[in-house]
Symmetry: C2
Amino acid sequence: MPKASTDKHYTVGQLAKATGTRAVTIRYYDHLGLLPSAGRTASGYRLYTENERDRLLFIRRCRALGFSLDDIRELLGLADRREASCAAVDAKVDEQLEQVRMRLRDLHALEAELERLSACCEGGVIGECRIIESLSARS
Amino acid sequence: MPKASTDKHYTVGQLAKATGTRAVTIRYYDHLGLLPSAGRTASGYRLYTENERDRLLFIRRCRALGFSLDDIRELLGLADRREASCAAVDAKVDEQLEQVRMRLRDLHALEAELERLSACCEGGVIGECRIIESLSARS
DNA sequence: AATGAAGGTTATAGTGGCTATAAGGTCAAG
DNA sequence: CTTGACCTTATAGCCACTATAACCTTCATT
């Protein structure tokens, strides 16, 4: 890793473009303390370095995997402790994987039920619609 | 099922038990106008009839299928027009089905990526963890 | 009749992860 | 020296609830 120009600076807007994040979202992360200690220009503009850009990219990758911001806060904390065991990281990933699988199971069930409903419509009037019938109480 | 006493009345709590919905949620639906015109006792308690119980069950079934409350408001409107074509109902179901399938595709991709991540952890320290590496910027 | 528990009522604020709006300050170019 | 693109903050809204507070009603027991 040749760290050539490590002192490149970004305003929020530039960082937004560089990372595919909206500026408001960056400010939101700042507000939450996820992207802390941004430097400021004399006039109060945020100034980010490559360090913070990388941190933001890390956050966005985690978000894309479905991690909550709280999860990400933990992951960021772990990532900084280079000598610690990575068991906790692995556990977080496995936990997230399990949650995704649970949601998949739920959605598959939903899909099946919606398919069933869709198939039973024969194109008549609502008074005879099996979909509405199915959704209505007949207990 | 002999529908003996069609004028059975429910307080919120009773309706909650009868439908597996929380009382607060029922009041919330009332507030939104989804479960309108509940009668009131002299002292101001809501009083629901079997009509409203059925309407609530309809809402809950739709919710279980992932429909938004706005969708449900539409579906309720449709369900009442017994002579109208049920094409709109069918379309709503198909649209919801398509959305569920989209979310399924997204989640399957997430699952695959998380599986990949999980598999690449070899149980060392964080400094060498491939998961953290994967999540960190290397562009 | 008094009391206490279990119900009911309202209004308001919080959840998560942003997004939208308002009302203003800064900066480079023409 | 003005225009327009950028930046700043604070606040409110989204969805479908959930939680809290402060109060009122009903019913059973003493």
